[in-house]
Symmetry: C2
Subunit: 332 residues, 2 copies
Amino acid sequence: MEKQAVTIYDVAREAGVSMATVSRVVNGNTNVRSETKEKVESVIEQLNYRPNAVARGLASRRSTTVGIVIPDVTNVYFSELSRGIDDVARMYNYQIILANSEEKNAAEVVESLLSKQVDGILYMGNIIDDRLRDQLEKSNVPVVLSGSVDVENQNPSVNIDYISAVQEITDKLIVSGHKKISFVSGPLDQTINTEFKLKGYKNALKNTGIKFDESLIFAGEYEYQSGYQLGDEIRQSGATASVVVDDEMAAGVLNFMTDNGVKIPEDFEVVTVNNSHITLLTRPQLSSVIQPIYDIGAVSMRMLTKLMNNEELETPEILLAHGYVKRESTKN
Amino acid sequence: MEKQAVTIYDVAREAGVSMATVSRVVNGNTNVRSETKEKVESVIEQLNYRPNAVARGLASRRSTTVGIVIPDVTNVYFSELSRGIDDVARMYNYQIILANSEEKNAAEVVESLLSKQVDGILYMGNIIDDRLRDQLEKSNVPVVLSGSVDVENQNPSVNIDYISAVQEITDKLIVSGHKKISFVSGPLDQTINTEFKLKGYKNALKNTGIKFDESLIFAGEYEYQSGYQLGDEIRQSGATASVVVDDEMAAGVLNFMTDNGVKIPEDFEVVTVNNSHITLLTRPQLSSVIQPIYDIGAVSMRMLTKLMNNEELETPEILLAHGYVKRESTKN
DNA sequence: CTGTTAGCGCGTTCAA
DNA sequence: TTGAACGCGCTAACAG
C-alpha cells in the first residue's frame, strides 16, 4: 500500500532542513540560499523524490490538470485536434484527463472532470444543452470550445469560418454547372450543421438563385458506413454532387458511387471539409476545405492556459484561416 | 478562487449530522439508518454537493484514476484500442489520464502519471527500455500491456498471437504462388516487429523452403505516407506481394501500386494485420488479419481493474483469437 | 448506527 | 533566508 515511498519530510530530514524549504526549492522559489538549494536538490535526486501531485493539488487548490471532452477519439478529426491540444498542454506542464463523451453523457463526463478539480476544460463536440451550459457556467472553471460551436456562445472558442468555407465549396460546384447539389450532414440536432455548414450551403444557393430543396439534405453519423449507406439515397435523389461535412462520411459516399459505376468526378463530384489524411486514402482522392486542425487544437489550448492564468483574452472567438485543395473528386 | 463551493462540512452541518456520516452515505456504506441517509442525500442534492476527488484521493490513497500511455492517438489502431479501454474504465468508475508518448518520452510521461498517483497504468507501445521497465517495476502500481509486447515480459498483457497471425497470411501468399514476398514493417527497434511479426513471416518461409531474403524487408513508420514512399522500393525489389504490419502503411503501399499501374491483386497482393476501418476505405479493399482491437483494449482494462483490486490473475498473458478476412487485395 | 479524531502530503502564512 | 504551524477536504479507525 505504501505507494508513496518518499515524502517531502524524508527529503527535509535527510537534507537537514525543514519541509518548507524543500517545498520552496521544488517550486522554484528564489528565496533559498544556493547552498541549501543544492543540498536539497541532491537529496531529492538521491532519494528519487517525486512530489505527490494529489497532495499538492489539495494544498494549492490547483491540479495543473485540464479536462478534454471529446465525442469520439476514433474519429480522425477529433484525434488530430487532440494532438494539437496535447502538445501545447505538455508545453505548459498541464496534465490531461481525456473523456469520451459520445455527445450524449457530456454532462456526466463534465461532472466527473469537475470533481477531479480540473483547472480548465477544453470542449469538443457540438451538442451543448442547457443543463451542460448551466453546469459549466456555475463551475467557475474556464472553458474553451475547440473546433466546436455553440450558438448561445458564452465561451471562448477556436474554429474556422464554417459558413464561408462551405459556401465557397458549394459555389465551386455551382460554377461547375451543378443544379442539384446534395448536402450530406451530421446529426441535425447539432448547431454546427444547422446553423453553420448548412447555412453556408444555403447561402451559396441563394446567391446564385438556385432554389433550396429539402430532399437534397441527408443526415447521418460521422462515420464511413453512414456515408456509404446514404450513398444510395443520394444517387436516387438525382443529385449530381455532394458537399459532405465529414471526411469519413465523404469517403463512404465516394466509395458507394464508384462501387456502383458512378464515375467521379465525371458523373458525380464530392467535396469534404476536414482535410484529414483520410482524404488521401481514397481513390480518387477527396477535394476538401483545408482546415488547420492541429492548430485549432493548439490555439484553443493556448487560450485555455491564459484563462487559467487569469489573463485577458484579446479575442474570445478566434476564426483561423481556411482554404481549399482540389484533388480528384471534383473538377475544380 | 473558491472553486470548491460546498464541502462535506457544509452538508454535515445542514443535515445535522457529522461529516463521517456524510462520508458514509457518499461512499455507499450500509451502516447508516435509512432516514438519516435520505436526509443527507436530500441535503447533498439541495446544496449540489460534489465530493472533491483530490481530497478523497489524498485521504484514501486511491485516485480511482488510471494512466493510459498511447504512442499516437491519431493512429486508428490505438484509438480503437482506447475505446475499449475507456468503456470498461467507465464501467468500473475509473477516470483516465491519457498521455501521448510518441514512443520516445515514455519514461517522462510515466513519471508524471505516477506523480498523479494513478492506481494503474495501461501501456500501449512497443518500445520498453530498461529505464522504463525499472521505473514501472519500482513504482508498485500495476501495469498491463495492451496490444503491445515486451520480450522481457514481467507485465500482464493482452494481444493476439502475432507470430501465428502473420505466419498464416504469409502462408496464403505462398500458396498463391508467390516466391518473393516483401515484409513491410514498422521500426525495427520494436520487438513486436522483430520478435513477433517478422518471426511469423520467417516461419512461413522456412516451412515452405523459401530462402529468407533481407532485401525484401522494408521498415517505415506507422503512417500512410510512409507506406506510400516505401512503395517504389518495394516494386523495384521484385516482390510480387506485401505483408504489411499496419493498416495505414498498407493503404499507402496499395495506393502507390494502383497509382502506378500495378494491378491489385492480379499483379501484386497486399495483406495487412489490424483490420481497422481503414481497410474498408481503400479500393480495392484490404484483406487483413482480423484482430479484436476493441476487445483487446477492453480485456486489458478489465485485467487492470483486477490487479488494482489485488485480485489474482488466472492468466497473465492473454492471447485473444484472431482470424482472417479476404477482401480485394488478395486472391485468397 | 453515529461521532471524534487523526492523519494523507504538501503549500503557505507568519515569525524569527 | 529559514522554520513552525495550520489547513486543504476527505477517509478511516476507534469509540461509544
